[in-house]
């Protein structure tokens, strides 16, 4: 079990920046493109050390995605960086045709995803990106949960040949995963084993789920907590094995309920062995300005919301 006395906090985007720099040093085919957000994406170090392999696209994301497809055609491994909103919705057709359908080895790296972007408000808080990206054939979709996992994921996706969407965020967040972890695409991480309920969490809400699991343990509820960092391809075996044991699920994600991880889990269970599922996700609304914690609480993504969802789903299972 991950303990709650974690004091170190770092932003997941810095994990991306650190991973990209390490990749740059170890693989000369890795190139990076950014749309006028180099500092926000923590790509400065890569840019400074490898200026000839860094391309400033300006505020022109469509061209950035197309150029990345071209660089991949020429044998490079391009990493594009901008906010999640501009990495997906703004350039969906470019990704669909020039990257996904064309099977290009482009890594679309997206920061400031979800409500925890905070004060900039709903124009920038995309909550639909996982859904859009997981619908695209050929696309791998990854949403790591802390600095270390984001760094490991960044390094791992360079070794995967094909398009990848890597989503991370802005706020400083507890660092609780192993700094030397081996990141395996499509492989779930069982954080703790339990018997009463399975919580399946991704991204920033993994930490909230750890807090919830501690609160639930104090109330005598045994939680099996699974971190799904790879939304697609989904580790179906891990999910089915856990739910066969616990018989009910709470999913937790910083995303719309429509199209998110929870729907992927429900689809999987429906096709195999249905079980009651409760969603901790944004329910068909846009966000607003505020601090990350205020927003998570207001939109039902806080620790207490996960605890409540667990009580509800266990009652349904037993009802």
């Amino acid at each position: 079990m991950v303990t709650l006395d974690i004091t170190e906090k770092k932003d997941t985007r810095s994990g991306f920046g650190a991973g990209l720099l390490e990749l740059g040093r170890n693989n000369s085919e890795v190139v990076a493109l950014c749309a006028d957000l180099t500092g926000s994406l923590k790509m400065d170090a890569f840019k400074k050390e490898f200026p000839e392999r860094f391309f400033q696209a300006g505020i022109a994301e469509a061209n950035m995605i197309g150029m990345a497809a071209g660089l991949a055609t020429g044998g490079k491994i391009p990493f594009t960086g901008t906010f999640a909103n501009f990495s997906t919705g703004r350039v969906y057709d470019q990704i669909r045709q020039s990257v996904a359908y064309s099977e290009k080895n482009v890594k679309i790296c997206a920061s400031h995803a979800g409500l925890t972007l905070g004060e900039d408000g709903a124009t920038h808080q995309i909550l639909e990106d996982l859904g859009m990206m997981k619908m695209l054939p050929n696309m791998v979709v990854i949403n790591p949960c802390d600095y270390n996992q984001t760094k490991a994921a960044t390094i791992a996706i360079a070794a995967h040949h094909g398009p990848v969407y890597l989503r991370f965020g802005r706020p400083k967040w507890p660092v609780f995963t192993d700094p030397n972890q081996k990141f395996e695409i499509g492989k779930a991480w069982t954080i703790q084993e339990g018997t009463d309920v399975t919580i399946i969490a991704t991204g920033h809400l993994v930490w909230k789920s750890i807090e919830a699991a501690h609160a639930l343990a104090a109330a005598g509820i045994s939680v099996e907590l699974i971190n799904i960092h790879t939304i697609k391809p989904l580790d179906e075996e891990a999910v089915l094995r856990s739910v066969a044991k616990t018989g009910c699920v709470v999913t937790a994600e910083e995303h719309q309920r429509n199209g998110g991880l929870g729907e992927s889990i429900c689809g999987l269970l429906s096709r195999n062995k249905p079980a009651p599922v409760e969603f901790v996700a944004v329910n068909d609304s846009f966000g607003e300005s505020g601090t990350p914690e205020e927003l998570l609480d207001k939109y039902g993504l806080g620790t207490q919301n996960i605890v409540d969802a667990v009580h509800k789903v266990i009652a349904r299972k037993n009802g």
Partner: protein
Amino acid sequence: MVHNVQSGHPGGSLGCAEFFTVLYHRIMEYTPKPFSMEGKNEDVFILSNGHISPVFYSTLAHAGFFDKEELNTFRKIDSRLQGHPATEEGLPGIRVATGSLGQGLSVAVGIALSKKLNNDPKSVFVLMGDGELEEGQNWEAIMFAAHNKVDNLIATVDFNGQQIDGSTEEIMGLTELRSKFEAFGWYVLDMKGNDIDAVYHGLVSAMDESRQGRPVVILMKTEMGHGVDFMMGSHEWHGIAPNDEQLASALAQNPETLGDY
């Protein structure tokens, strides 16, 4: 091909036949077999206005990328010759899917950047439609290519003055296209696209002007449906197929193509 499946885009294809022929048989240096996606140390071509796939596929077959027989599968089920160019079926000669307009120039710029990183001395060619220039992404790429001195890139605009809903002049005037490109920092050439000698000299001039610190664009004046009297100069033949009678009439006007489609 288009008649065979009663589907496709004959007008724009016919207008660019001379361009494709000269580009693939007199200008570009490449290895058709085995086809290399990366195209290192080869000249590379991207068709941005993917709907003129008939002339592109025909050119690739004649250049040896695949057998001419396969042209008969165009737009049919299980074919590698998709309605618009695609890579998924593995058709040699195609490096990116195009069809949704405005994306090819960006991809071509990316390939040109990869060639520079690889110290690859060969060039990247891209063809765009004139109506396609209404897509904003082109202007992002045009700005980037000039700012970053992408001078191993030769773009050509198929300036036939037609788009689906009518003439470009009527739909969205491209007034002063030369000065638009020049203002962005490109070197601009004019070329008659339906005159094989003019196309050859135009492309040679463009090659001469490349690698001088700015991208090059050729404004290629063409006539949609060139060589077939009832198709020429009309947007009506953008995306419809000729019937038996029209095909016979078209082929009779171009006897050198008989039996070779």
